[in-house]
């Protein structure tokens, strides 16, 4: 994310960036999938593909996930690979990072990213910085994921957005997708990445359906991490956003289009 902002800010390379940016996929829709199911399928496929991948977090197993994102996974993969933890974020985040040190590929779920503050030391000091401090001797292939940012009336302690906080830490890849396609492709890429990834979802997006093409539904569909995307073509002004607010930008663009202003909506992933 940091490198993209860097590109966008330097005037000279703006044009070349526009030409290099991807257009959003408009291939024929194969199926309608909501973000929750896209994440669920992504994890399922990656668990199947690599024995070393496992999921741990509060209520991810027998409860099927606090927000049902991990529904069905425990039934399919069992106790060894889908692990319910006690309510001890700092402890289980540390355990997840240690498992990554020793060669496994954990997915550590925070029930919401607000609770990650209890474990933020493990995310930053143990996960993000280790590859650098060891001069490349110790990679940390871990994904931290969970809902981030605004929700529906859950008050201050449960509504913070951590994109800016985590985005400033070298050694961490921070992803904040909007659509089901992005969620799917980027979660798979995050799990396959050998670096610590902070994957910021949004609770209110979980139930939103999107059309996914056959190509996107392929089990090896991954999106490149760190590359921005144009959701809507436009010529007069660019709206840049991430996660749920992309939807608002698109709504705003639709309103403005009636007045003759064509907005380009760009998604920073």
């Amino acid at each position: 994310m940091a490198s993209i902002r860097c590109f966008l800010r330097s005037g000279k390379s703006a044009v070349s960036v526009v030409l290099r940016r991807e257009f959003s996929k408009t291939s024929p829709a194969a199926v309608q999938v909501n973000v929750r199911d896209a994440l669920n399928q992504a994890m399922d496929e990656e668990l199947e593909r690599d024995e070393r991948v496992f999921l741990l977090g509060e209520e991810v197993a027998q409860y099927d996930g606090a927000y049902k994102v991990s529904r069905g996974l425990w039934k399919k993969y069992g106790d060894k690979r889908i692990i319910d933890t006690p309510i001890t974020e700092m402890g289980f985040a540390g355990i997840a990072v240690g498992a990554a040190f020793a060669g496994l590929r954990p997915i550590c779920e925070f029930m919401t990213w607000n609770f990650s503050m209890q474990a933020i030391d493990q995310v930053i000091n143990s996960a993000a910085k280790t590859y650098y401090m060891s001069a490349g001797a110790q990679p940390v292939p871990i994904v931290f994921r969970g809902p981030n940012g605004s929700s529906a009336g859950v008050a201050a302690q449960h509504s913070q957005c951590f994109a800016a906080w985590y985005g400033h830490c070298p050694g961490l890849k921070v992803i904040s997708p909007w659509s089901a396609e992005d969620a799917r492709g980027l979660l798979k890429a995050a799990i396959r990445d050998n670096n610590p990834v902070v994957f910021l979802e949004n609770e209110l997006m979980y139930g939103v359906p999107f059309d996914l093409s056959e190509e996107v539904m392929h089990k090896d569909f991954v999106l490149p991490i760190g590359k921005a995307k144009v959701e809507r073509q436009g010529t007069h002004i660019t709206l840049v956003s991430h996660s749920r607010c992309v939807g608002f930008c698109l709504d705003a663009a639709a309103v403005l289009a009636k007045e003759g202003v064509e907005c380009e909506v760009s998604v920073v992933l």
Partner: protein
């Protein structure tokens, strides 16, 4: 005996002009050569202190058998750690080592004893007082000292420093107090997950023992029966706060509550070894975690910025040094049981001194890492990318 002494005195008189070390080594090699190794006891059994038990019916054995080879190896390793730490002290005072430097002298029996109870295919993680463990886990003195001086020949290429040294199955070297304990449990989880019969030793100090995340780790390790040995190196002081002033319960081996614990004399390398073997058996038999408290002592202050005498007396330090020094204890045992000769041990001392000198020389002359390394190793397995420096027009390339 008389004949040997005559030989030695002749040699010494005849070489009055040559330097002392050469003379001693000549005399030593003469003595050693004239005394065959069949004279030494190959193996002896020693009584060791009984350990305190928590939630255990039986503890480690009350005797330990030491072979001559093991004894010499432990002696050499402990002496290497001792001299390496003292050299680091010297280099720090000369400002050749900067930043943090937490020295391990006094606690050598812990690192060496623990390694004697596990294998290199087991895993170990500790906090920032890590130079001794880096050595016992396979690092060389050269790499360690060059890392302390921040040079490219360092074990972390000069980017980690004193607190961030890594080798195979050794996960540092961790700066945040207590954070290494859940990390160690994660490594143990991986051992259980992969079914490789390995275990993880997770160390922390008396100061860290009050950290909440350690209790969280006790809980999960017990629930999931992880193959982890928790080891509390109790050197009586957390920086400058004594155990009585920081812990409501100073019986650290009992703090695991439902986790069985043992309290061990950490100044006796054989005690530590037998306790570690006992703990390792416990883990490998699938019984889950076990906790070991090692009662030990550090001669230096908490770090190089701490003289170490504002919160404890010089007399206390002196008393431990004279009564319980781990290296002296092993030396006395070996000599009084005829397992080695004074000269042989002196030869080891000389060899160790030379190794440390060479390492210090390397550490002082090796070049610092190149500027490009400042931004490299941010991400693993990635394409090189540009990182903006302090100004928009300064850029460095980051490679994996």
């Amino acid at each position: 005996m008389q004949k040997m002494l005559t030989i030695i005195s002749n040699v010494l008189r005849g070489s009055a002009r040559r330097n002392g070390a050469q003379v001693v080594s000549e005399a030593t090699s003469l003595v050693v050569a004239s005394r065959s190794y069949a004279d030494f006891t190959p193996e002896a059994t020693f009584d060791i202190k009984k350990v305190d038990l928590h939630r255990l019916e039986e503890g480690p054995p009350l005797t330990a058998t030491l072979t001559r080879e093991e004894g010499l190896k432990y002696y050499r390793t402990m002496q290497t750690i001792r001299r390496m730490e003292l050299k680091a002290d010297q280099l720090y005072k000369q400002k050749i080592i900067r930043g943090f430097c937490h020295l391990y002298d006094g606690q050598e029996a812990c690192a060496v004893g623990i390694e004697g109870g596990i294998t290199l295919s087991d895993h170990l993680i500790t906090a920032y007082r890590a130079h001794g463990y880096t050595l016992t886990r396979g690092g060389t003195v050269r790499e360690i000292m060059a890392e302390l001086t921040g040079r490219r020949g360092g074990i972390a290429k000069g980017k980690g420093g004193s607190m961030h040294m890594y080798t195979k199955n050794f996960y540092g070297g961790n700066g945040i107090v207590g954070a290494q304990v859940p990390l160690g449990a994660g490594v143990a989880l991986a051992c259980k997950y992969l079914g490789n019969d390995q275990l993880c030793v997770s160390l922390y100090g008396d100061g860290a023992a009050n950290q909440g995340q350690i209790f969280e780790t006790y809980n999960m390790s017990s629930l999931w029966k992880l193959p982890i040995i928790f080891i509390c190196e109790n050197n009586q002081y957390a920086m400058g706060t004594s155990v009585e002033r920081s812990a409501a319960s100073t019986e650290y081996y009992k703090r695991g509550d439902y986790i069985p614990g043992i309290r061990v004399d950490g100044m006796d390398v054989l005690c530590v070894r037998e306790a570690t073997k006992f703990a390792a058996d416990h883990c490998r038999s699938g019984k889950g975690p076990i906790l070991m408290e090692l009662q030990t002592y550090r001669y230096h202050g908490h770090s190089m910025s701490d003289p170490g005498v504002s919160y404890r007396t010089r007399e206390e330090i002196q008393e431990v040094r004279s009564k319980s020094d781990p290296i002296s204890m092993l030396k006395d045992r070996m000599l009084s049981n005829n397992m080695a000769s004074i000269e042989e041990l002196k030869e080891i001392d000389i060899a160790v001194r030379k190794e440390i000198e060479d390492a210090a020389q390397f550490a002082t002359t090796d070049p610092e890492p190149p500027l490009d390394d400042l931004c490299s190793h941010i991400f693993a397995n990635d394409q090189p990318f540009e990182v903006r420096g302090a100004t928009p027009w300064t850029k460095l390339t980051s490679t994996s």
